[in-house]
């Protein structure tokens, strides 16, 4: 016999994402899902951000990687609570993985939780994890064709950080094209040109963060 079973395949993930949202709301913590390709500078941005906000904003971090705990060790050395998730091969974090580690963080004592997703410009954008805001990094060395090649992440993100901006004189990258294409995909995206190495442009990102979490 035939059964009509109309349901969203990712319903289980969306239900769990809503549950995570509820937990975050009750704890009074704002959550940012930080996404990018591998090596674009997610952990470097977090290091900069933590140094700049420490003392005024209580930050926690969830690190997502396929394997290893190098990133968590870097964050841990800055003295903020951090949990490492190893996805064991999965190309993205999902709401269930986040839910599993929430008990290991002092959520009630945090103002802001960063979730550093697995380095991947495709899949993380597909899965809600309970965040308030998605933010992404594109590093200048990745090239100006990326917004149109990987549109979903640009469409889903509230903020785009263009990192490694200090390398601009050495590259043939068309920065205006990145801006133009990102804005055509997502007219409300906020774009920040930054260098996590030199600190250039980080102040504008920090100012935006402060407004978006208050």
């Amino acid at each position: 016999m035939k059964l009509k079973v109309v349901s969203k395949i990712l319903d289980a993930n969306e239900r769990m994402a809503r549950e995570n949202e509820r937990i975050f709301r009750e704890a009074g913590v704002r959550v940012i899902n930080l996404m990018s390709s591998p090596g674009a500078g997610k952990t470097s941005l977090l290091e900069r951000t933590i140094r700049d906000l420490k003392g005024s904003v209580r930050i926690g971090v969830i690190e997502g990687d396929i394997t290893g705990s190098d990133d968590a060790a870097r964050i841990d050395s800055l003295g903020v609570p951090v949990v490492q998730i190893n996805t064991g091969g999965a190309c993205h974090l999902d709401a269930n993985m986040i839910n599993d580690v929430l008990k290991e963080l002092p959520l009630g004592e945090l103002d802001l939780l960063f979730i550093e997703n697995v380095g991947n410009l495709v899949c993380p954008a597909e899965f809600k994890i309970g965040e308030d805001v998605k933010a992404m990094i594109l590093s200048l060395t990745e090239g100006h064709d990326k917004p149109l090649k990987y549109p979903l992440m640009f469409q889903e993100s509230a903020a785009l950080l263009i990192n490694k901006i200090d390398l601009r004189p050495h590259l043939d990258v068309d920065l205006d094209k990145i801006r133009r294409d990102a804005l055509s995909l997502n007219p409300s995206i906020k774009i920040f040109e930054v260098s996590c190495r030199t600190g250039q442009g980080i102040d504008r990102w920090i100012a935006w963060l402060r407004t978006s979490i208050s």
Binding site: M1, L3, S7, N13, C123, P187
Partner: protein, 114 residues
């Protein structure tokens, strides 16, 4: 890229439908997959064949109905449908201001059980 997770979620939904209802075998499952969902039909079929082994769906055939990308332009107010996976401009007036009404679907539709 994450077709295996999608195949596992799909199988979970299908097996849950059988539990407690006396169905012992799933013969077929039909899903609707939007062209802009990021899911490759061939990869999903391959993943489903791998995850269904040793379950009530071991002999199930997966049928994928692809849903084209469609939208509504905020400028010229046209409704449109395209064959491509992604749409960057309204195909009628070229504006970049439009809403996408379909193409991101990842839905189970029906299944045949014994």
């Amino acid at each position: 890229m994450h077709e295996v997770s999608i195949a596992e979620s799909l199988l979970d939904i299908a097996l849950r439908e059988c539990t407690g209802k006396g169905f012992t075998e799933i013969r077929s499952i039909t899903v609707r997959i939007g062209k802009a969902s990021g899911i490759m039909p061939e990869a999903l079929l391959f993943a489903f064949d791998a995850v269904k082994l040793d379950t009530a769906a071991h002999a199930a055939v997966l049928t994928i109905e692809e849903v084209p990308v469609a939208g509504h332009c905020r400028i010229c107010l046209a409704d449109f449908r395209v064959e491509e996976k992604y749409v960057f401009n309204c195909p009628h007036c070229g504006s970049g201001s439009f809403t996408v009404s379909s193409g991101r679907e990842l839905e189970m539709r029906e299944m045949e059980v014994l």
